[in-house]
Symmetry: C2
Subunit: 154 residues, 2 copies
């Protein structure tokens, strides 16, 4: 099959397939006389493997390592475990920070609901205050601090 068919069969964009080939995830395919790439069924499986790994947000470098393991069934697979554990740690860390983030954003969002002037916007005031409080948590000079651009006619 040609690259367009492979793309349709796997749901991966043609450009992305060529990209995967370029970075060494896909083997160099055979070429027709006109230069067109030709693939067999094994390519479909390889691309689907990659797609599944990507759906799990596994980076291309790690996908390459996993493909190497598949290619070498006699190798010890403890590295596969390690790879997945590391990845799981990353995902859980991101999950945790994202949960915190959601709380902070939601709280921030409650600070301002009606339409009014930015000077009275609770959200901006909170952000400015946070920036202010960084150096010194005490003196709030009044309105919106000294972050402004000065050149007001922009």
């Amino acid at each position: 099959m040609r690259i367009g068919e492979l793309a349709k069969g796997t749901g991966i964009d043609v450009e992305t397939l060529r990209y995967y080939e370029r970075v060494g995830l896909l083997q160099l395919p055979a070429r027709q006389a006109n230069g067109y790439r030709t693939y067999g069924q094994d390519a479909v499986e390889r691309v689907n493997f990659i797609r599944h790994c990507r759906a799990l947000d596994i980076g291309l470098a790690d996908v390459r390592r996993l493909l190497d393991f598949v290619a070498h069934p006699e190798a010890d697979c403890s590295d596969v475990n390690y790879l997945l554990d590391e990845h799981l740690v990353r995902v859980r860390a991101k999950l945790k920070s994202l949960r915190t983030l959601e709380k902070q954003l939601a709280r921030l969002r409650t600070q301002c609901d009606a339409d009014h002037r930015a000077a009275d916007c609770g959200i901006l005031q909170e952000l400015v205050a946070a920036a202010h409080g960084e150096a010194c948590a005490c003196h709030q000079s009044g309105g919106n601090a000294s972050l402004s651009n000065r050149k007001d006619g922009e």
Copy 2:
């Protein structure tokens, strides 16, 4: 203060500060005779403002818009609400997909625990089977499918 001090005071890398200047988040600072940048206290606050927004994963383009609001206190702030709402939607969507991802990875991880050959690795088998099942959910040819590289002496 010079850029190194600003970096230390805010926890933002020197290179990143110069980058922020280049993309217009920081105003062009005054220069000493030797060309070194000099900053005042307002720069610290501005950088901290940026840092807080970034900690909330707000993109640089949106940070720029927020800085504009701070600079123009007379403007209507309903766009600030909108910006935050949009961001909250993005964060929640990401959170949802990440939770699913974590479950899948955790389940996959349980498929293989002891050190053994890759050929017997449950994790690889699952990924290969998933790739296989894509085209046809029936025939599992046996071991680890035809994803391998063939050129085993790599």
